[in-house]
């Protein structure tokens, strides 16, 4: 049974109150390593959103029509991963062919996303929470936007931090992690507004 949540609420929740990155801490490694400049952060954010939405749709169909009927739920990790990897491959070729400019913007980030745990995380959440097809897609799209928002905000903050008088020992990863901690706390401020499980 899918929970009775309005897709719009779900969209808002997945962007802000249950932000996949800052509330669930998924997809951290690329978030930290690619957030140094705005262009890359944008490219990666866009790619994560696209891949999340498409793979979640495919994963939902496979989950519903193959995994459940054949009682293969225990294989969901491996199957979701195979599907994500294959989708990223196909997507890369298609974008390269039909939209070279878009490929320029996200092409080199696509392969990185295959190993982004936010993508697998969303597929597993949709399964655990029993979302319907539409809900899953909205949730995935919202989570992508939320991830995008978070990485772009971090890139913007990092730009300022670069010019700030940071103590020697904290420069680089140290101050980035502290910044992310503050961002996460700021996002917790949203958490009373909507709780979606």
């Amino acid at each position: 049974m899918s929970p009775d949540i309005n897709p719009l609420v779900l969209l808002f929740a997945s962007i802000f109150t249950s932000n996949i990155l800052l509330a669930n801490f998924l997809g951290m490694c690329s978030f930290i390593s690619i957030s140094k400049d705005m262009d890359s952060a944008n490219g990666l954010g866009m790619s994560v959103t696209a891949v999340l939405t498409i793979t979640t749709a495919i994963n939902w169909v496979v989950y519903k029509f193959i995994l459940i009927p054949f009682g293969l739920l225990y294989l969901r990790f491996i199957i979701f991963i195979i599907i994500i990897a294959a989708t990223v491959q196909v997507l890369e070729m298609v974008i390269d062919r039909f939209s070279p400019s878009l490929y320029m913007a996200l092409g080199i980030f696509l392969p990185l996303i295959t190993v982004n745990c936010a993508i697998l995380g969303v597929a597993l959440f949709m399964e655990i929470r029993g979302y319907s097809f539409i809900q899953s897609i909205v949730f995935a799209f919202g989570s992508g936007l939320g991830w995008w928002l978070a990485i772009v905000s971090l890139a913007a903050i990092q730009k300022k931090v670069l010019k700030a008088p940071v103590p020697e020992g904290l420069k680089g990863a140290g101050i980035t992690l502290i910044t992310i901690g503050f961002m996460a706390m700021a996002f917790i401020g949203f958490s009373g507004m909507l709780i979606v499980q």
């Binding site: 193959i66 199957i79 195979i82 294959a86 491959q89 196909v90 298609v94 062919r97 092409g107 080199i108």
Partner: protein, 368 residues
């Protein structure tokens, strides 16, 4: 029979996905026939589009240096592409200087061939070939440097001493892919059927670990080359050569070549820097050269010499030794040129010393 359901479904799903990928690859990644025009018609290749430029060229027998094996991390596969093939990719930027970007220099391993291309590569790359070789000898020179001699059978290699060659390292142990690494050729150009290299073990280095721990005499391997621009000049200036560790290789080739060709009027100062006695090698060979070539001076120096060592040669950092000789022994009224081969740190330091002593023409072979 139920236990078969899971494997069958996983296999079916995986095959379906593989099928989709190959269908998309076949149709979407099909850029039809393309023409690659190299050096204004010097060579025209007609081939299928869709692959990286580096692989397309190598499948047509044109080998562009690629020390990292096409991963976009060495910057050695540069070529000029005059056709508009889209903006420079983020993966290329770190390896291109602003001038190179203006000249349309690209990394061949990063760009895909999608349409007809006009491009330029240095003439000598037409000479580079792929050689099949057999390991003839592996000699321990020090505890961490080996000399590897590869016989290339009936094929013959043409090169100027100072060049390097790429060794194709097959998968072994945990390394699952072919890798390529560049090594200076230490044999003489007159030895046409073999290629020798000096290879120093780098902890956890993919290629050097293979050479030191896995390679066997009699083993088959592939070499691609020769590549590079490092070589002696044609004038008669004094050569001030400095090497560290396996940086000995191009000089070994150069000096034997000069000796063989009778170019012994030229004055050569060869400094070899090592830490301890254990790191020294081929001393006899260079002392022999010194005997036959009066203008050749070989100066090995140890930076970490202990008092019990049986060593009466130069002691101290190679930079200090070099400075001392430049100020006292090497005639500064004659034109002098510097030749350096070794680690980036050593090259940088020696470069400064040469500069301070008024030597401006400096050539180097960097191990970075």
């Amino acid at each position: 029979m139920e236990f078969l359901i899971a494997p069958i479904i996983v296999a079916l799903l995986a095959s379906l996905l593989a099928l989709i990928i190959s269908i998309v690859d076949k149709h979407v990644n099909n850029y039809g026939d393309v023409e690659i025009n190299i050096n204004k018609g010097k060579k025209v290749i007609n081939t299928k589009g869709g692959d990286k430029l580096l692989t397309t060229l190598s499948s047509e027998g044109i080998f562009i240096p690629s020390a990292c094996g096409g991963r976009g991390s060495c910057g050695s596969c540069k070529c000029e592409v005059s056709t508009d093939i889209g903006p420079i990719l983020p993966t290329e930027r770190p390896y291109l200087s602003p001038e190179e970007m203006n000249k349309n220099t690209r990394l061949a391993c990063q760009i895909k061939v999608k349409k007809n291309l006009d491009m330029y590569i240095p003439e000598e790359l037409f000479n580079a070939k792929e050689f099949s070789g057999i390991v003839e000898e592996i000699n321990d020179l020090t505890y961490d440097i080996k000399e590897v001699i590869v016989s290339i059978g009936d094929e013959s290699i043409d090169f100027v001493s100072g060049r390097y060659i790429q060794l194709v390292v097959p998968p072994y142990g945990k390394i699952k892919e072919y890798t390529q690494r560049a090594y200076s050729i230490s044999s003489k150009p007159s030895e046409k059927n073999k290629v020798a290299m000096l290879i120093r073990l780098i902890p956890d280095g993919i290629a050097t670990t293979w050479v030191h721990n896995y390679m066997k005499v009699g083993e088959k391997l592939k070499l691609i080359g020769p590549f590079g621009e490092f070589q002696k000049s044609d004038c008669n200036s004094t050569m001030v050569c400095i090497a560290g560790g396996s940086g000995m290789a191009p000089f070994k080739s150069m000096f034997h070549d000069m000796l063989e060709k009778g170019e012994i009027d030229r004055e050569v100062w060869y400094f070899f820097g090592a830490r301890t006695i254990k790191d020294l090698f081929l001393l006899k060979e260079f002392q022999e050269i010194e005997k036959k070539w009066p203008n050749f001076h070989f100066i090995p120096a140890l930076s970490n010499c202990s008092p019990d060592d049986d060593w009466d040669g130069e002691k101290g950092l190679i930079t200090d030794v070099l400075d001392k000789y430049l100020k006292t022994e090497i005639d500064s009224s004659k034109h002098r040129e510097g030749f350096l081969c070794g680690s980036p740190g050593m090259i940088g330091a020696c470069n400064n010393i040469l500069n301070h002593n008024g030597i401006r023409d400096i050539f180097y072979d960097n191990f970075s």
